[in-house]
Amino acid sequence: MLTTISLTHYVVLSALLFGIGLFGVLVKRNAITVLLCIEIMLAAVMINLLAFNKFITPMDFTGQIFSIFVITVAAAEVGVGLAILIAIYRNQLTVNLDDLDWLKW
């Protein structure tokens, strides 16, 4: 069992990484850390995509193509997210997510 790495190993690693990322998104106070943890979750998703690409559809490259699009969208998301955070910080002098609740009620 320890000598061969199967699909399950990659799926378990991906699930654990996704769990860590989700935990960070839910419990961190700083908005930038939440961005970082979303990136961790996306990395977990990409490990999953590439593992299934290797074990299920090696000739179709579906997983690899989708990973390329995930990377593209993640890069765009970080750019826009950081710009929004900088704008919020200039207006409000905080990026504490507990203080950013003016849209809530």
Partner: protein, 179 residues
């Protein structure tokens, strides 16, 4: 010893080392009290993920991972942190008071994932064929034929997102000057 067996054992060792680095790095991102340290651990995590992509027969994506994530994204976030930093960086990455609820949600998610993984644990998926050595030529051809529309849409998305990011960051500055 059989060459295949040696290859399998080396792959297994590499997998466990890389998986340990990935998980520890990700935990450090969550638990480091200083956000700059958290970003540095994020870069380590992404380099380890790139190494894992090499094990998964995706050398092009491993290179892109190092360029885009470990290079661009981490540097951009450090820039963002430096632009909005405060004098005391010691407590820039602390927990809010949703720790119990967040922990419960994560425990539930991981439990559901563990259940579904456990039901397929005995299923031994063996790849039909190996992934071709030269992944680049296949990827390039697919991107410019079958996935052409999505490729162009991604290009437009990147342009719009980055222009929008500049607009958002700049507009506030103009307002601040007027005030």
């Amino acid at each position: 010893m059989d060459m295949n067996l040696i290859y399998d054992i080396l792959t297994a060792q590499a997998f466990f080392v890389i998986a340990t680095v990935i998980l520890l790095g990700a935990l450090m991102v969550v638990f480091m009290p200083n956000i700059v340290h958290a970003v540095l651990f994020l870069a380590i995590t992404f380099i380890a993920v790139a190494a894992l992509f090499l094990l998964l027969d995706a050398p092009f994506l491993a290179a892109v991972m190092v360029f885009v994530y470990a290079g661009a994204v981490c540097i951009m976030i450090v820039f963002g942190v430096m632009l909005i930093q405060r004098r005391n960086m010691k407590l820039t990455n602390i927990f809010n008071n949703q720790l119990k609820v967040g922990g419960a949600v994560v425990a539930l998610t991981v439990a559901v994932l563990a259940f579904f993984t456990a039901t397929t644990w005995t299923l031994d998926v063996i790849p039909v064929t190996a992934v071709p050595e030269d992944t680049m030529s296949y990827l390039a051809e697919l991107l410019l034929t079958k996935y052409f529309v999505a490729f162009e849409a991604a290009a437009i998305l990147l342009t719009i997102a980055l222009t929008g990011a500049i607009m958002i960051a700049k507009e506030v500055k103009a307002n601040a000057n007027n005030n």
